[in-house]
């Protein structure tokens, strides 16, 4: 039961959506784009969302695309994690998405929503970070493209009124050797104690993490350490761990110490599997 009211709009084009946003914003409605709505509804129940209008992006044609175009795999921000899993065009993304929440909820959670929400885990973002994909954004200033690692830095870096339409993922990377690890405290359907996505781009093994810090991330320093083939895997892992961007999370899922223990074990086995 959401204890407050808001209006609902489902525009048919990106232009309409952006214009609507500006309009509603000017009226003081504090509009929100609405993807799967799972976060808006569950936080709304607790009165933790402050909005007078939601703009559902699921009828915007660009947001529903999932196909190869030229040398890219294009996935719309409104595509659900289940659709990604079923199509399996980018197996690492399919796998990571299939461990977010649970299967039925994946029928609702969108790729854009998982990235743009307030949840600290955003696990389906990890494969995107690894591909350096391009994000296609519509906004009051028109459309723009930007690399995902610019659009996501600890948080989503969007200007007011901007909406993510699509991700353009380099086709060359979608079938690269990869590993996905999600560890939970106990129950499998749970927030991660840690999630690691790793992908061997040919030149190096790229790593993205969730659950270790207050945000998902990919770290140059850690990747460098992990790809330092002059050292044995377990030294590389130790070195990488010393480069964490912020102190290891210590929370309900796990203590920092145990998390470090699991992280190290996982890194070593990923290195063994993917080489690098």
């Amino acid at each position: 039961m959401i204890p407050f009211d808001f209006s609902y709009y489902r525009p048919d084009s990106a232009g309409e959506a952006v214009a609507l946003f500006q309009d509603l914003d000017a009226q003081g409605k504090k509009p929100l784009y609405y993807g799967g709505g799972t976060e808006i509804i569950s936080m709304g129940r607790h009165n933790n969302v402050d909005t007078g209008a939601v703009i559902d992006i699921k009828s915007i044609p660009e947001c529903g695309v999932q196909e190869f175009q030229d040398d890219s795999l294009v996935i719309g921000a409104g595509v659900t994690l289940t659709q990604i899993h079923e199509a399996n065009l980018f197996p690492l993304l399919a796998q990571a998405g299939a461990r977010v929440a649970d299967h039925t909820t994946q029928n609702k959670i969108t790729l854009g929503g998982n990235m743009c929400g307030s949840i600290v885990y955003r696990e389906s973002l990890l494969p995107l970070l690894l591909t350096d994909c391009e994000v296609i954004i519509a906004g009051p200033g028109g459309n723009r493209n930007a690399p995902v690692n610019d659009i996501f830095d600890k948080q989503v870096q969007l200007n007011r009124g901007e909406v993510i339409l699509q991700y353009r993922i380099p086709k060359s990377l979608v079938n690269s050797p990869h590993v996905h690890v999600k560890r939970t405290k106990s129950e499998k359907i749970s927030y991660p104690l840690l999630t690691i996505c790793a992908l061997n781009s040919g030149q190096q093994v790229r790593f993205a993490f969730s659950g270790l810090c207050g945000y998902p991330f990919r770290s140059k320093e850690m990747e460098q350490a992990l790809n330092d083939t002059s050292r044995p895997a377990d030294e590389r892992a130790d070195h990488a761990i010393s480069q964490l961007p912020e102190p290891m999370a210590d929370n309900l899922e796990s203590s920092a110490a145990y998390r470090q223990f699991v992280l190290k074990g996982s890194l070593v086995s990923i290195l063994n599997e993917l080489g690098g």
């Binding site: 039961m1 204890p3 106990s186 129950e187 309900l252 699991v262």
Partner: protein
């Protein structure tokens, strides 16, 4: 003996309603007249209420009333009256109800509830059972000794957080220690956890202009609801009518009277209009009763051959902020404190103490599960100290007819059952002969663990059940009982007993699923795995009563003495000439002679049952007979531990229990498996986590984790059937028992596999890792 209905896996009567969505639970009705109540809860774990501002809320759209603790200040509780339904003056746990907002829609009520502003003067908190009994601990209830008692046998201690202390003093403990060649000690901790019935609690009430109070509620205890409401609101029992339709799981959590008070108060505040309060999952966990916490200390003495000589047990039962049935669970632990082992020298102290946490009530197993965890881990420690096989030490000490319980009840084959036989079967089913620990691959250890249990009920000595059987003119029968269908197929099992007694096909027995205290026969409450036993006995008596009537009518019709007749397949036939018979249909509503004149009338059988010869436990020694009989059993688990990261997978879980007689094998098996599943949940993931301010951190199913599909082991259930002479067809209760020792069996296995002592629940991979690390340093 050949049975018609008993021993058959009869499909539950309400099966098709349940698979088609037609089954109606309490909140499955909506009507335009309905108002909605939303509860405002405390954000402070212990504090004086400085001010409650309800003005803004009162003036919000759709709001009809806002009530707080002053509205109708009463104290409630099934053992001791220590709890106001709405906090009054002070709050004692995070989540405690402080106000109810009633509005036209639930959304309006929820919006207004957000505007009720409460300010608190924070008080120091009691954070654990151990802290509760420290000298100078903050007091939750300043005048605990002055509260009105709901039952005489509760012993609160003035100026303390101890609301009850029960003792067992059996034999000569000093002699027991003298005889001991080995002494082992251990301490164990179990956190609070939650029932998580899938149907969250909800209740609906309205008050008619003549004063009648009508309640519809999701409860295991319609008759206690009626009694408490009648007492607290000054009504005749008959003027309180409680309807309970199907209940979506309960596990003890719906056995106390909670939301019903609030629903009645809310209705009263709006002139008797119908109000429903359906709480959220978050409130269900944080605000309404949960499972007790336990801190246990056990010291055992034994001879070198494994024979137990002395046992000393201390159970600190954390009941949270209010007693509810906590004191009774302390009794339950004390009365069964040794586990199912022969011990002549026993000393037990079970203390029920307050903490600043959500208050506790009955939970599947009623204290026996927590107690059994401690006892069964202890038996493994003793086995290790003696270098004995864990199965062997249990077999050696297993209780037998002729032994006595801690409360000095003499055990017989009938009231005890056969634990030995259970152990033997469980041992085989878990392949114990393959060894307790096996290395099965790189970093992979396979381990097995066992545990035993026993349980009897701790019901009031006058617990009563009744049943009424009415006949339809076509010869079919209707069964009415006061037991609620909370899931275990109780009503179908009772129908089987009736079918058997009447020799009538089960399809011709119709069972009313809803309980309505206005016309359903009385039943104490649907708890303690006692319904099949108690109500079953009442059904047997009702059937006998009906049969007597049928036989005497048949005797008239068939011109003979009733003794010359017998009952068979819905017919009454001559004993010496079964070819000649009369159908039930021809006499069920009286017998009509050929000339049209009719003798007799509708056949109505009635039966009732009171637990015989129970007596309360003596305050000084615990001597007494708290329950009618035991259900013993043995459990075993096979687990695979990965020593690289300490994750583990449970492969197999076994329960063998002495069911006396299994009336519905598949239903019974399902109950035992479900209970094992819940027990393994407690062992592996379930706990309420309170932060430093004693606020509950995991109030949703996102963070309070229960077992999901795919992680379950293979479950194996088997039976021993030693008839319980007092039970219907020899049956014993079995609905809770699968939970009792399964966590201990798992931890016994894991402790062996990891080479550390795991004495605390739940056990995460991290828990094992930490223990191993501690051991290293």
């Amino acid at each position: 003996m050949q049975f018609l209905a008993v021993g058959k896996s009869v499909i539950r009567k309400e099966a098709w309603e349940k698979v088609t969505g037609q089954a109606k639970y309490t909140a499955d009705i909506s009507s335009p007249e309905l108002l909605y109540g939303v509860i405002v809860t405390s954000t402070c774990a212990h504090g004086n209420i400085k001010q409650i501002d309800i003005e803004t809320a009162r003036s919000m759209p759709g709001v009809r009333a806002v009530i707080t603790g002053d509205y109708y200040p009463i104290l409630t509780g099934s053992v001791i009256k220590d709890r106001p339904p709405l906090a009054s003056g002070k709050v004692r746990y995070y989540g405690e109800p402080v106000a109810v907002v009633v509005a036209d829609t639930e959304a309006e009520a929820a919006a207004a509830a957000l505007q009720v502003k409460v300010s608190y003067e924070e008080l120091p908190t009691v954070n654990s059972p151990a802290e509760a009994i420290k000298a100078n601990a903050p007091l939750l209830h300043e005048f605990v000794d002055q509260y009105q008692k709901s039952i005489p046998e509760v012993y609160p201690q003035a100026n303390s957080n101890v609301v009850h202390h029960v003792k067992i003093r059996k034999g000569d403990l000093n002699k027991g220690w003298e005889d001991a060649e080995v002494v082992v000690e251990g301490s164990f901790t179990l956190p609070m956890s939650d029932h998580i019935a899938m149907e969250t609690r909800n209740a609906m009430a309205h008050i008619l202009s003549d004063g009648k109070i009508i309640i519809r509620t999701s409860s295991q205890a319609p008759f206690p609801v009626r009694k408490m409401i009648s007492e607290q609101f000054g009504r005749d029992l008959g003027d309180v009518i409680v309807h309970v339709p199907l209940v979506g799981g309960a596990f003890g959590g719906k056995a106390s009277v909670e939301l019903e008070y609030l629903a009645v108060l809310a209705s009263q505040a709006v002139g008797g209009r119908k109000v429903i309060i359906s709480i959220s999952r978050e409130q269900d966990i944080a605000s309404f009763p949960v499972k007790i916490a336990l801190e246990a200390r056990i010291k055992l003495g034994a001879r070198r051959d494994g024979t137990l000589t002395a046992g000393e047990y201390t159970y600190l039962v954390g009941t949270g902020a209010y007693a509810e049935s906590g004191p009774r669970m302390a009794n339950a632990m004390a009365m069964s404190c040794t586990g199912p082992y022969k011990l002549d020298n026993v000393w037990c102290d079970a203390l029920c103490v307050y903490t600043n946490h959500t208050y506790a009530t009955a939970f599947r197993g009623f204290g026996h599960g927590s107690m059994t965890f401690a006892v069964e881990r202890m038996m493994d420690k003793l086995a290790a100290a003696l270098k004995m096989d864990p199965v062997q030490i249990r077999r050696k000490n297993a209780v037998k007819p002729g032994d006595t319980t801690p409360t000095q009840v003499e055990l017989t084959e009938s009231n005890l059952g056969n634990l030995q036989a259970c152990i033997d079967k469980a041992e085989t089913l878990i392949n114990w002969e393959q060894g307790q620990v096996q290395y099965v691959g790189e970093n992979k250890i396979l381990a097995r663990g066992v545990a035993c249990f026993w349980k009897t009920s701790s019901s009031p000595t006058d617990a009563l059940a009744s049943a009424v059987v009415t006949f339809n003119s076509d010869g079919s029968a209707n069964l009415q009982v006061g037991a609620v269908e909370i899931g275990p197929s109780t009503k179908t099992t009772l129908a089987q007993i009736l079918a058997e007694k009447l020799s009538l096909d089960i399809s011709r027995i119709h069972v009313e699923m809803e309980v309505d205290t206005g016309h359903s026969p009385h039943h104490w409450k649907t708890v303690a795995s006692m319904s099949t036993f108690m109500v079953g006995r009442a059904v047997e008596e009702a059937a006998d009563d009906a049969l007597k009537q049928l036989l005497s009518l048949a005797a008239i019709a068939m011109v003979c003495a009733p003794e010359d007749l017998m009952v068979e397949n819905g017919r009454i036939a001559y004993k010496d000439n079964p070819q000649e018979y009369i159908e039930f249909a021809d006499i069920a509503h009286g017998y009509k002679h050929a000339n049209g004149s009719t003798v007799g009338s509708q056949v109505i059988g009635r039966g009732s049952f009171v637990m015989p010869h129970l007596s309360p436990m003596d305050q000084e020694t615990g001597k007494g007979k708290p329950g009618p009989y035991q259900t013993p059993g043995a459990q075993a688990v096979e687990v695979e531990l990965n020593t690289a990261d300490y994750t583990y997978r449970i492969l197999k879980a076994v329960t063998v229990l002495d069911a006396g007689r299994v009336i519905n094998p598949k239903a019974a098996q399902g109950l035992v498996m479900g209970a094992m599943s819940m027990g393994l949940g407690l062992a592996t993931r379930e706990e309420l986590v309170f932060n430093q301010k004693q606020e509950l951190s995991n109030t949703s199913l996102r963070t309070y984790k229960v077992m999901h599909i795919g992680q379950q082991p293979e479950y194996i259930v088997d039976w021993v059937e030693t008839p319980n002479k007092a039970g219907p067809y020899g049956a014993r209760g079995l609905a809770e028992h699968g939970i009792l020792g399964i966590h201990a069996a798992l931890l016994n296995a894991l402790s062996k596999a990891a080479g550390v002592e795991l004495d605390q629940l739940p056990v995460y991979a991290e828990t094992i890792w930490k223990k191993v690390e501690e051991g290293r340093s």
